[in-house]
């Protein structure tokens, strides 16, 4: 049943996800939104791993493992990012990325 879905369809989906993430990353001011966009890009990559594993090397599980691993890493990363965002909020009372310019000079 799964094999009826062509590879290209997955790749189109992930491309859309990835560029949605890129767009969000570049255009949003809110740091949480930026973080979400980042997750979107990561997930697009994860899906690619699994899909390529499934279609190109069906007997192996390396891609799937890697995807799981990346999910774990991104979870940790998100936790840190949120901690940073909370700290920034405590300092400047908002979480707009262009307001965080204290370290610039």
């Amino acid at each position: 049943m799964m094999s009826t879905i062509p590879l290209a369809a997955y790749l189109i989906l992930t491309a859309i996800m990835f560029f949605a993430g890129v767009y969000g990353f570049l255009s949003r001011r809110n740091m949480l939104t930026i973080l979400m966009s980042l997750e979107l890009m990561l997930n697009a990559a994860d899906i690619n791993f699994v899909v390529f594993n499934k279609y190109l090397y069906p007997g192996q599980l390396d891609g799937a493992f890697f995807a799981l691993f990346a999910i774990g890493v991104s979870a940790a990363e998100t936790a840190i990012a949120i901690a940073i965002i909370i700290n920034i909020y405590r300092n400047i009372k908002n979480i707009y990325v262009d307001e965080v310019s204290k370290m610039k000079y």
Binding site: V22, F25, L26, S27, V97, D98, S101, M103, K104
Partner: protein, 636 residues
């Protein structure tokens, strides 16, 4: 053989380190006693060395041989050229050992009284030890480079002793002046050494001065501006000696150096360091005589001119230490002149012997004069003649010893100065009548200004009222005076030519009464003149000063040598050379560097908007960059 002489040199160094490092932890008097005991040991050892050398080991037949007890390689440049450190004993170095240690010991003892209660008493004794070490190292040097090393050390210790009262601006200025002037002359000395060793391939005195040695045996044909390179080298070396020995025109530092404590002046600026130039020429004498006779002639003229010049200036000075300083310059010029007119070997080398003889006697009577002047200054707390007079009643010992020294320097028999000065005059008379005339006039002037000094201190206004009654100096100051006075009385009797001669072979001299009587005559005339003018206070000196106003004023201002030097350095060198160089440095060298930094600064300010600090800008640039690179990879 005689390797114990190493102790003579090393012990003062150890004393210096000991007193310099630990002196501040001791009571002043303890430091002084330790220094003096060390110096006494060195003195005894020097006398012992001299006795051993002159009477047993040194003499082989009729010739004194040079003994090198210790010599080790210190620095090697090439196969042939290396710097050694060692000890060379020959007649002149052994004689210098005796002079230096004896005067130094006297100064050590004297300073107990003179420097009592001064701040930095321990430092003073440490520096005296340093000076003694450097001077002893200088005279026993086996090669010219070792001599140069100690030569500079002597300069440094002289610098720190002149500036001993470092809270006094004039002392600081004087110490700087002494150091810079002598250092300037030493630059020529160093160039001369390098030139000489380049052509001769050795530093060693042994090889340089042997008549058949490396430099004199082979003909050096290279010339520069009409002179052979050896003449140039020897001339440059002499300039170094002239700087230390205060010859014209480098004499300007010595009168100012009197800012130092008086015993220091006695030790360094009368007896030992300032004769280093004479010693240098004496040490290199065969090279001068065989390699550069024209330089020797120049030396004799410089010496004669300096002797006369300094004697004239000394007649007009009113600071007693400055009178003595000019007297020292004049007497050292005598020694230099004697070397300049000397021949080589036997009776021809009379000038050489006379020079060393005068060095020997002068060291004692000039140290005595300085120490006597120190006792006077100690009593009246002033250097100026005007605040003295009639002191013979208050300072009997100082008076008698000072008189002995004055008679000696004036060349009155049987005091030691007569014998040595007579030999110099004989040597000059035989060689060069012009030089002789200059020395002869200086001899008369010497007698005049010394007795002017004597009368104005001890006679003159006898009813002068002092705020504090002057008192005779403590026993620690009297003993050196008496000891040196005794030496002044007896050392003239030493048959010096039996010990020291230009070719180290003994010869016999006798007093030539024709010249001796002339020199006694001129000395007596000088003394009588001084007696008439200064015995009792009268208006005669003022009248004479007004009559010869121009001469008097210019002599009083030391013939404006300081002003000329100031003009040359401040106006000519500073404006003509230093300022353009400074301008070049500031505007071209610095300017180039500044241009670079300004340009960098400007560019960075212009492009810093790229670094906005906004993460999204960076991400945007990153993505666009990636897109560009990928499209390049795909489409090209």
């Amino acid at each position: 053989m005689m390797s114990y002489t190493l102790i003579i040199v090393v012990l003062p160094l150890l004393m210096f380190l000991f007193l310099g490092l630990l002196g501040s932890k001791m009571k002043p008097v303890v430091a002084g006693i330790i220094g003096t005991i060390g110096m006494s040991a060195v003195t005894l050892l020097s006398w012992f060395t001299a006795a051993t050398y002159f009477f047993s080991v040194g003499k082989v037949g009729e010739t004194f041989q040079a003994i090198v007890p210790i010599n080790f390689e210190w620095l090697r440049f090439t196969d042939k050229l290396h710097i050694d450190l060692g000890i060379l004993l020959d007649p002149i170095s052994v004689m210098m050992l005796v002079v230096i240690t004896t005067v130094s010991l006297m100064v050590h003892i004297y300073s107990f009284g003179y420097m009592k209660g001064e701040r930095g008493f321990q430092r003073y004794y440490a520096l005296l030890s340093l000076f003694s070490f450097s001077m002893l190292g200088l005279v026993v040097a086996t090669n010219i480079f070792q001599m140069y090393i100690f030569w500079e050390l002597v300069g440094v210790s002289s610098y720190s002793l002149i500036g001993f009262y470092y809270t006094k601006p004039s002392a600081v200025a004087a110490s700087k002046k002494a150091f810079i002037v002598t250092r300037f002359a030493d630059l020529f000395f160093l160039i001369g050494i390098l030139l000489l060793s380049f052509y001769s391939g050795t530093f060693s005195f042994d090889a340089l001065t042997a008549p058949t040695g490396s430099i004199l045996g082979k003909t050096i044909t290279d010339t520069f501006m009409g002179w052979s390179v050896i003449s140039w080298a020897m001339m440059l070396i002499f300039i170094g000696g002239a700087g230390k020995s205060a010859m014209l025109p480098f004499h300007i530092w010595l009168p100012d150096a009197m800012e130092g404590p008086t015993p220091v002046s006695a030790l360094i600026h009368a007896a030992t360091m300032v004769v280093a130039g004479v010693f240098l020429v004496a040490r290199m004498f065969p090279v001068y005589y065989f390699g550069a006779p024209e330089v020797l002639t120049i030396i004799s003229y410089i010496g004669a001119a300096t002797a006369l010049f300094a004697a004239i200036v000394a007649c007009t000075q009113t600071d007693i230490k400055r009178v003595l300083a000019f007297s020292t310059i004049s007497q050292i010029a005598y020694m230099i002149t004697a070397l300049g007119v000397s021949g080589y070997g036997g009776h021809e080398g009379l000038g050489y012997m006379a020079s060393m003889f005068h060095l020997f006697t002068h060291a004692f009577f000039k140290a005595l004069l300085f120490l006597g002047a120190g006792a006077v200054i100690h009593a009246v707390h002033s250097n100026e003649m005007d605040s003295m007079g009639g002191l013979r009643k208050y300072l009997p010992i100082t008076h008698i010893t000072f008189l002995i020294a004055c008679l000696s320097i004036s060349g009155i028999p049987p005091f030691s100065g007569f014998f040595s000065k007579d030999e110099i005059l004989v040597a000059a008379f035989d060689q060069n009548k012009f030089v002789f005339a200059s020395l002869y006039i200086s001899a008369g002037l010497t007698a005049f200004y010394m007795f002017r000094l004597y009368y104005r201190i001890f006679w003159g206004n006898s009813n002068k009222v002092y705020k504090h009654t002057p008192h005779e100096s403590p026993v620690s100051m009297s003993i050196p005076l008496i000891f040196l006075a005794t030496l002044t009385l007896v050392v003239g009797m030493i048959p010096f030519s039996e010990f020291i001669s230009s070719d180290k072979t003994v010869f016999h001299t006798h007093i030539e009464w024709s010249i001796a009587s002339m020199s006694i005559l001129v000395g007596v005339v000088g003394i009588v003149l001084a007696t008439v003018m200064y015995r009792k206070e009268n208006s005669l000196p003022d009248k004479i000063a007004t009559t010869f106003k121009v001469l008097y004023t210019s002599a009083y201002h030391k013939f404006y040598f300081d002003e000329v030097w100031m003009f040359v350095t401040q106006k000519v060198i500073f404006n003509g050379i230093s300022k353009p160089i400074a301008w070049f440095d500031r505007h071209v060298v610095d300017g180039f560097m500044n241009l670079q930094s300004t340009a960098t600064n400007y560019v960075s300010r212009k492009i810093k908007f790229v670094q906005s600090g906004e993460i999204q800008d960076y991400a945007w640039a990153f993505i666009m960059g990636t897109v560009v690179i990928i499209s390049l990879l795909i489409f090209i």
